[in-house]
């Protein structure tokens, strides 16, 4: 039975629940917008990394480099798209 619940996965799960609780603090506690956003950004990206690395085994094969490049590339372009669009359409309009 024990081998069906490896420590790595259980720890990952507990950790992700913890991150959710930390993120929830922005709802239950009174804080400034920028502090709240910082907390959300940090917790969300750590969650994503936990999932990709621990659960999805992104780095376990020879294709490691290709897979990580895909992820970095898409994350970079996603951020450029989000912030570029906000710049052009909202902040600098």
């Amino acid at each position: 039975m024990k081998e069906l619940f490896p420590l790595k996965q259980v720890n990952g799960f507990v950790f992700s629940l913890l991150l959710t609780v930390v993120a929830l603090s922005v709802y239950f506690m009174d804080m400034s917008f920028s502090l709240g956003m910082t907390i959300l950004l940090v917790t969300a990206f750590i969650q994503a990394i936990v999932q990709f690395v621990l659960f999805m085994h992104a780095g376990e094969t020879d294709d490691k480099r290709t897979i990580y490049t895909t992820l970095y590339y898409s994350a970079l372009i996603a951020l450029v798209t989000i912030f570029g669009s906000l710049l052009a359409m909202v902040w600098d309009m």
Binding site: A23, T61, T66, A75
Partner: protein, 198 residues
């Protein structure tokens, strides 16, 4: 088909390795799909017209239930793959089954949430904000729905054929898909709901 027994079953043929790599690249495209939806959401976030704003319609309870349920399902699909690698198909099917039930639970709560939005007058047509909110959530929900059917298909195939290089490969890709939906939900949870209710 050459089978390499030193590798886990899902990687055991060249074809299988390519399937997994291809699926990762597909997930890269999915990241861009959701990034575009997020971009649109941020653009329209404050453009509520005559409709309600996020703070007025979001409810923390269903959102929390959805989050915990989906996180747990992501955990159980991970356990399913672990069981698969231990070559324990029965345990694997249990974990897969639990994942599917959790997925269906998530979907029910989300449908409840949508009905709630409808009742408080936040529909696709109300304003650009409610439109993009429902489109983004709906796209995620559609992915989950597709995932449920896909999961059932895999469940049946493993029941029929046992763990073969093909079924193991499909299950692994399926687990990637399911974890990915969880990641996207975390971003929805953080930057749509929590940001909106802050």
């Amino acid at each position: 088909m050459k089978i390499d027994h030193s590798q886990p079953l899902e990687y055991s043929t060249h074809k299988n390795e390519m399937n997994i790599l291809g699926f990762w690249i597909f997930l890269g495209a999915e990241i861009m799909l959701f990034a575009t939806l997020f971009t649109s959401y941020f653009i329209y976030e404050n453009r509520v017209g005559n409709g309600p704003s996020g703070a007025e319609i979001f409810e923390i309870t269903p959102v929390l239930i959805e989050t915990v349920v989906l996180l747990t399902s992501s955990f159980t699909i991970g356990l399913a793959i672990n069981a698969m690698r231990l070559n324990r198909p029965k345990a694997m099917l249990w974990f897969l089954g639990i994942t599917l039930i959790l997925g269906a639970t998530f979907l029910s709560v989300e449908i409840y949430e949508f009905v709630h939005y409808y009742h408080v007058g936040a529909t696709l047509q109300t304003s650009a904000f409610t439109g993009i909110l429902l489109t983004t959530l709906g796209t995620h929900g559609a992915h989950v729905t597709f995932g449920l059917f896909w999961g059932i298909a895999i469940f049946l195939q493993i029941k029929k054929h046992g763990l073969t290089p093909e079924t193991a490969n499909k299950s692994f890709n399926y687990s990637l898909y399911w974890h990915f939906l969880d990641v996207m939900w975390i971003f929805i949870f953080s930057f749509i709901y929590l940001k909106g209710m802050m």
